[in-house]
Every structure is written in C-alpha cells, then in structure tokens.
C-alpha cells in the first residue's frame, strides 16, 4: 500500500514536471503557435480554400484580442498534397518553429506519411482534414484525432438504405482507386453483409489521371444494375451523373458525400439529371436555399462577408473550414492546461458541441476512447433544386 502510494506520487511528480516543461513548447503567456499543412499548389489545390479560411479565421480571432489573452500564431505551409513534402514541412513546423500542435493537416496520403512521426514526437495532431477511418486509434496513435464522419461508415449507411428500399438490388460500384475510394467501398460491402458477392454485379475503379470515366459508366450501365454507388470526387461525379443521364440509365443513384455540393457537382452535371440522387450529409450545403435563414448560416455568411468578401461562398469548403476552426476556437477557449497532453485531453473530451454549419441535431462528441468527433449523418434526396433531408439523423458512434 505504502509502496504503491509512493509510486503514484513519484509518477505524479514526474507527470507534473513533464507537463510543466511540455507547456513551454509553442505556448507562452501571450501566444499559442499552431502548425498546419495544406495543398496551396498541385493537383489538390481545390482544398486550399480550407487553409485560407483557417488562416483568416484566426487572424480575425487575434484582431478581437485572441483566446484568453493569447494570440494565435498559425503557420500554414504548402505541401502540394505530396507526402514527402508534408513530412518535410511538418518536421519544420515541429522542430524549427516548435509549434504546440498540428491542426487540420489535409489529405489521407499526406497525413499517413506523418502519422508515426507526430506520435513518436508526441505532438497533438488534431482534427485532421480527411475522412479515412485510421485516425481514430487511441491505443496505437494517442496523439492523432480525426474530424469528419469516416468514409467506411458512410458507405455502410448507403448499403442499409439500398437493402431496405430496392427489391432485388443489383448493384454497380464506381470507385476512385486509392485509400479514399476503397474505404467507402469496403464500408459499403461490409454493410451488404454475406450477400455482397451476389448483389454486386459490377465494380469498376478509375484513376484520378483518367480524363473521363465515360467507358466505366457505359459498362456499369450495361451490367443491368438498378443501384449505383458513385464513389468519386466532384469532377468525376459530375461526369458520371451527366453520362448516365445521357444514356438513359436510371438506377437508384447513391452519391458519396464528398461530391454532394450543389454548386461544384450538381450544377455542372445538370440539375435535371441530378434529380433523385441520394447522399448522406453532416454539413449545411451553403448553396442549398433551405439553410439561408438558419442562424448558423447567417453567422457564417456574415463572417465571410467581413473576412473573406471575395471568396466564392458556394464552395462548401469555406463552411467546412469555418466549422472546424470554430471547433478549435471553442476547444482552446475552454482549455486550461495548454501542455501537449493537456491539449490532447481537451480535444478528446468534447461534449455535444454544436457548430454553425452542421446539420441541426449533429453534434461533436469525443472521449479518451472515441477519437471520431463527428459521427452522425442524415440521408437526403435531391429534388432538382436542393437536398431534401429525410429520416432521422443516423448516429454511427462506435
């Protein structure tokens, strides 16, 4: 008994000193240094709107006096979506700039490249901008936490929906040939259960370098499928919707959330052709008229008007970035212990946090064993003008 008390107190002392020394990294009484990587150039530069918004957000926070008297020193570096460059930039952030933690580093391959490194260095790697499922492993990677609903779970939602709503489903799948596409595909197949082999009549991949996916669509249509799970990024999603419309193939069309933006996908594809699409959503699509009067939309819109007046507000990424920045803002605001373990503790103890651009009823929840902040989505169907939500918010917490 006495020995164990002794051990505990020694351990406690050690922990205290550890946290006291850790507290100095990147945090002073007047500032917090945060690192971020984003593809400002290269093939994924469409996501640079996220980086720009995050930077603008904390600039505005600083102009208002910072967080608890500390200004936010956010360093956002370009990694061109190239994993080796991400490694280089993150090393620079951690070892030279000595940031307190990393926030919203973007991309699945890029984050995979620094996953081990940041965990070995014990640098909090918070709210990464990717929907892969591997960011929620508290035992193996206690310093990395995800943000958005994961692709595999969303895939499962579509599988359940197809099974429940289509008699004798014959399923065609088109997926991007990488981690993102396979996560969605595997979640979907898992959702179909034992009958997956028999139900899926055709499954085709495409590469991001393909100029068009016309031939894939022709083949999928020729398989006679009556359900089509479309796992593609906006450009190819629009092509797929347009092409299947052109050749008059009308299956139950399940569109992954990645490409659900009305402006970036459905308008280019043609609104008439987009009628009847089904997707699962967790965010308010800024181009969807039904949100125009909601308080959250107004808050975001006013912020955009003030801080990024020239940005195209139809781009959902601005709303995405505003949400996650606000989440970090609120988290830091309520965080007393700004040591690295302390920051991690704050990130993993969020309870029912509501964000302005989340669909009503969807909240952020984390715990020391649950590293998936947003785990709910709601199905919706496109009516030719906007997404119409139906059913309940589906909570996917595991």
């Amino acid at each position: 008994m006495r020995i164990s008390t002794f051990v505990t107190s020694v351990a406690a002392t050690l922990l205290l000193t550890a946290s006291a020394s850790a507290q100095t990294v990147g945090v002073t009484d007047t500032s917090i240094k945060i690192g971020n990587t984003n593809p400002y150039s290269g093939p994924a530069s469409v996501y640079s709107s996220i980086g720009k918004t995050i930077v603008a957000y904390f600039k505005a926070v600083n102009a208002d006096g910072g967080i608890n008297g500390r200004t936010i020193d956010l360093i956002s570096l370009d990694d061109s979506y190239s994993p080796p460059r991400t490694v280089e930039q993150v090393r620079k952030l951690v070892e030279q700039e000595k940031v307190a933690f990393l926030f919203q580093t973007l991309g699945t391959p890029t984050n995979s490249a620094i996953h081990r490194y940041v965990n070995a260095k014990k640098v909090p790697h918070i709210f990464v901008a990717t929907g892969a499922s591997k960011w929620g492993q508290p035992e193996k990677y206690p310093w990395t936490i995800g943000y958005q609903p994961t692709y595999d779970v969303e895939g499962g939602i579509y599988a359940n929906y197809a099974l429940a709503n289509v008699k004798n489903p014959k399923i065609a799948i088109l997926f991007q040939n990488d981690d993102y596409g396979k996560d969605y595909r595997d979640g979907f197949l898992q959702g179909l259960g034992d009958r997956a082999d028999e139900l899926v009549v055709k499954m085709l991949p495409y590469e991001v370098t393909d100029p068009t996916i016309d031939s894939q669509i022709l083949e999928l249509a020729a398989s006679g499928a009556n359900v089509f799970f479309n796992i593609t990024i906006p450009k190819f999603a629009a092509q797929a919707i347009k092409k299947s419309c052109e050749i008059n193939w009308k299956p139950l069309h399940l569109l992954n959330n990645v490409s659900s933006s009305v402006k970036s996908t459905l308008v280019p594809a043609g609104l008439e052709c987009s009628k009847g699409l089904i997707t699962a959503q967790f965010m308010k699509d800024p181009t969807d008229p039904q949100w125009a009067d909601s308080a959250g939309f107004k808050e975001w819109s006013a912020w955009m008007e003030k801080n990024m007046p020239n940005a195209d507000r139809g781009d959902i990424l601005y709303a995405y970035a505003y949400n996650v920045s606000k989440l970090l803002h609120m988290m830091l605001n309520g965080c007393d212990d700004l040591s690295r373990p302390g920051i991690m503790a704050c990130a993993t103890n969020l309870k029912d946090v509501e964000l302005p651009m989340l669909i009503p009823g969807i909240k952020v929840n984390t715990s020391p064993t649950d590293f998936y902040p947003i785990e709910a989505e709601q199905l919706s169907e496109f009516d030719g003008e906007k997404w119409v939500l139906f059913g309940d918010v589906i909570d996917l917490s595991r």
């Binding site: 150039s41 530069s45 068009t212 894939q216 083949e219 092509q239 308008v267 195209d312």
Partner: protein, 291 residues
C-alpha cells in the same frame, strides 16, 4: 453490340480531342524539335479565356473564335519571348522552360479562376435532329469539328505559300533561309498554330470533363501517346494516333478483365513499345541526323 458501339463512339470522340493535342504537340516538335510539355496547360488556359468571354455575354461561337485567335497570338509571343532565347541552350534548359510554363499556367489559372470545376457549354446544339443512345450530340460534334480542323491544317500546308515556307523551315532550315524564308518567324508561326489547335481541343473537351486547371493533365498524356503512335513527324499520323488511342483505351477498359485499372498503363506501354520497336511511329519518317 450496343455496348461495343457506345464504347467505340465515345472512344472516337475523346480520341478526337487527343488528336487535337497530339497535332499541336507535333506542330511544335516540327518547329523546334521538342515536346512542349506545357501544351495541355496552354490549351486549358485558352479554354478559360473562352469561358471569360462567355461570362461577358459573348455567344459561344464568338468566344470560341476569339479564344482560338488569342491563343494563336499567345503561342507566337511565347515562342518569341521564352523559347527563342534558349534555342541554342542545352536540351535540359529547354525542358526546364517547358516545365516552368506548365506550372505557371496551371497555378495562374487556379489563382485567377479558382480550382472548383466549372460547367462549360457545348459548341453544338443539343438537338441535331435525331437522337441516339449510342452517342451524344456533343461527342458527334467533337468528331466532326476535329476532322474539319485537320482538313484545314492539311490544306494550309499543302496549298498556301506560308504553309510551304513552314514546311521548308522545318525540313531544311539552312536552305530555307537561303531562299529567303524567315525561319525564325516560321517557327513562331508553328507555335501559334499549335496553341490555336490546342485551344480547339481544350474547348471541345471542357464540356465533357468540366473546366478546371488540371483538366488537360490526363489528356496531354494520351495526346503524347497518340502523337508517338502516329509518328511524331506526321501531322496526319498524329490525328490517327489520337483516334486509335481513344478507341483502344475504351476497348481495354471495357473488355479486358481489370481493364479500367489498366487504361493509363496501357497508354504508357504503347508509348514505350512504339519507342522501342518503331520509333518513327506508324506514319512518321525516319529521321537521320548527321553528327
């Protein structure tokens, strides 16, 4: 059978666009003996120019003509300002210039017009009078217009004095200079034509793949394959090469098991095979260089 026809026709349409790119690659190669890696990005930029005219309210065909004309001028200017000064520089320097152009055009487009995809209207009416589930009206128009462009280019080289002078400048610069042809300007003209043809390709492909700064990256690769297959020295061969690649690519995707994963691999294998076994391509002439 329906699937076969659909695949083939879609292949011909996208192949036509590869042809345009292949043709412009060949034009530049003829003029300055190099692959212009920025050809695709220049075409993409031209398409944005057309899109800008559209946004200002110009009708689609007028935007098309203006964009193609401006691209021609831009091609000439680029040759004069950027390519000519490195004419005698080592080959690596020249390649750096082309790669530099590629990156500059790509990022400039993203910076000016953002990276989100934009719908681009078709040059052709949605209704040609008959409807078919085998091929859409735009795809049909693409094939027709490409053939027309090819015909024009052919006539230009065959029947005009400038065309003859350009051929002379490419085939034998020294003799051409002796008979009074301004070789330098002929090369610039070649660049201009290449840029103009590229612009046609860009504007034709945009309604299918949507307008965005990276839209030509994949197309350029297949265009290269087409140019090499047809013969890098033969404009007609390049067009045919592009068409063949487009159709084969679709057939491979459609009929070879696991083929849609192999489409790009297939194009690359074709490039390597041509270079190994028939470097002059199907229709090119064998170039013998004195050293």
């Amino acid at each position: 059978m329906e699937l076969f026809l659909q695949l083939t026709l879609a292949g011909l349409a996208i192949g036509s666009i590869y042809s345009c790119v292949a043709l412009s690659v060949v034009m530049v190669y003829q003029a300055s003996d190099h692959f212009n890696f920025a050809q695709g990005e220049m075409a993409m930029f031209s398409t944005y120019i057309a899109w800008t005219f559209l946004g200002m309210g110009a009708p689609i065909w007028l935007s098309f003509v203006l964009a193609v004309a401006l691209s021609f001028l831009a091609g000439v200017v680029i040759e004069r300002l950027l390519v000519k000064p490195v004419e005698d520089a080592p080959i690596l320097n020249q390649i750096m210039v082309f790669i530099g152009l590629l990156v500059i055009f790509n990022n400039m487009a993203g910076w000016i017009w953002e990276f989100t995809i934009k719908p681009f209207p078709s040059l052709f009416p949605a209704d040609f009078g008959f409807k078919s589930s085998l091929i859409g009206p735009h795809h049909m128009g693409v094939i027709g217009l490409t053939l027309l462009v090819l015909l024009l280019v052919f006539c230009f080289f065959r029947f005009t004095r400038v065309g003859l002078a350009m051929r002379a400048a490419a085939a034998n610069p020294d003799s051409a200079r002796l008979v009074g042809v301004s070789v330098g300007w002929m090369l610039a003209l070649g660049w201009g034509l290449a840029a103009a043809i590229g612009a046609v390709g860009g504007i034709l492909v945009a309604p299918i793949v949507y307008l965005e700064p990276n839209m030509m990256a994949g197309v350029l690769l297949y265009g290269f394959a087409g140019a090499l297959l047809g013969g890098i020295t033969s404009p007609g061969g390049a067009v045919l090469g592009g068409l063949i690649i487009g159709v084969l690519e679709n057939w491979v995707g459609g009929y070879v098991p696991g083929g849609s994963e192999l489409k790009l691999t297939f194009a690359l294998i074709l490039i390597i095979a041509v270079l190994l076994f028939k470097p002059a391509g199907l229709f090119g002439r064998v170039v013998v260089k004195r050293v």
